[in-house]
Amino acid sequence: MRAIPLTLLLALSMTLCGCDEKSAPSATTRNATPSDPALAQIYVNSCQLCHANPAANAPLTGDRQAWEPRIRQGADTLLDHAINGYNGMPPMGQCVECTEEQFLQLIGFMADQPLPE
């Protein structure tokens, strides 16, 4: 849906859901992959579809600003959301075989910052 009249619809939608402006990283940043080949394979198969696609409404890879409030929730919460799903985030991020350590590594890579202990 698009075109000028839709802006009214969007404005109403934004009012109702309390959305706000989001920053977006460059395409180069969000198309980055982990340097570890094994982790990169998981990232490409499972995470990239949403976390490198602005339309997916997920925090984008390399978007430190978008990840900041999430990182502040702590590693346990992030791990819980990754494993059990949260809002649009599907459980396990569609990586069936991922270990808890791999989930945390992937989150750290996408957030482009270390996770708190």
């Binding site: 849906m1 698009r2 075109a3 000028i4 009249p5 839709l6 009214l8 619809l9 969007l10 109403l12 939608s13 109702l16 859901c17 394979q41 998981i42 198969n45 499972s46 579809l49 949403c50 696609n53 602005p54 339309a55 997916a56 409404n57 997920a58 494993i83 059990n84 799903g85 809002n87 649009g88 599907p90 459980p91 396990m92 569609q94 990586c95 069936v96 075989e97 270990t99 808890e100």
Partner: protein
Amino acid sequence: MSMDLTRRQLLQWASIVGAFSALTANPALGQLMRAPRLIPWRNWSGGQSCLPAARLAPKNLDELTAAIRQAQGKIRPVGSAHSFSALVPTDGTLLSLSYFTGLLDHDPKTLQAEFAAGTPMSRMGVPLKGVGQALQNMADIDYQTLAGAIATSTHGTGTTFQSYSAHVCGMQLVTANGEVLDCDSQRHPEVFNAARVSLGALGVATKIRLQNRPAYRLRERQWIARTEELLEDLDKNTRENQHWEMLVVTHSDYALSIALNETSDPATPPIPPEEEGGNEFVTLIEKLDKYGSDFPDLRRTLLNSLRHLASFDDRVGDSFDIYSNVRTVRFNEMEYSVPAEHGPACLREILKLIQDKDLRTWFPIEYRYVKADDIPLSMFEGRDSCSISVHQHYQMDHHNFFAAVEPIFWKYNGRPHWGKLHTLNAKNLQPLYPRWREFVDVRQALDPSGRFLNAHLASILGVN
């Protein structure tokens, strides 16, 4: 803060520390305590879950066959976890094909291409375009893996287009005893026929060969109209458009009509990401439901008035880009396919029920057409079909809503989508499938001890 402890408290602490020391001194218990905790598996909506003893992702065929031979208990293959029904849950071994991805082979003369079975549908379009091919039709989401989509007869829309499964012309299976079986219309044809829609009950598919067509572009046209008008114009809409469907906005009188047709026109510029997939519209009607469900007449008026705010530009692009949409709002889904001629009556009855009972739901109902095929366990076996899908937000209870609607599907001889929610078992399902026996016999021959069966599969296939 005072740390004064009574003698009684000191003794309690001492006994706890002593017990912990004894436990960790025991090698077996110590090992158990250091082992990684079991992680639950959940499907995309979160509605299905299990705690598997093992989650394996073999890296090649040798590892896969070894994993199947050595697995203790039940084995369930899992793709992208996008099935809403309980096809996957097991307390045994979950087998992921995440290392079985990519285009393996292609033939420019026959326009056939072979993919590793774990390839996500979202990653097939670009490599296929690179060899001049494209899938003949696609569903409106592409999160599924190829093996998962094939196993459940996943489909798009179009009266002259069949499901993904109907375009399979060969596959490789690893069976319950670890045997590698290559099958097509010439080699093991009875297995091939059954395996084109297998629910993952015959073995683990590793390679799938598809009959494709030359790469193409599509033009997407969308418009809002009264649902009744769209139903009255069905023949025109389905005849004049290669792919036509509608999304009926519940508790309103209107639907979004979507038509896709092949074109040689140049691609249009990409649309802003936030406008892709109509997710903002879904969010809006969710809010209208939240604040307006106590005032049904007002809600209907508001929903009906949304048509004045929306307009649509045509979109042209590569077929795989136009078919698929991003879904940012999770949901649970029930879908039945009824004989094509019963589609309008079935939909009208569902909409009347929702209005009369003021059923709590706000997700649009998806209404599509699929051409008949000849696969024993396909929902479209032997009959052109109309597929009607009802949805419920993943945080809203779906049981009452789906339970109210499901008998309407039964009345019209509907067959449930294997990957979506339903309450039928083998006793109800067998009469719906004239070639049921063909599948059951192949399954019994390939997996007599039921290694690939979980409780749901045993129930729907009638295996004790």
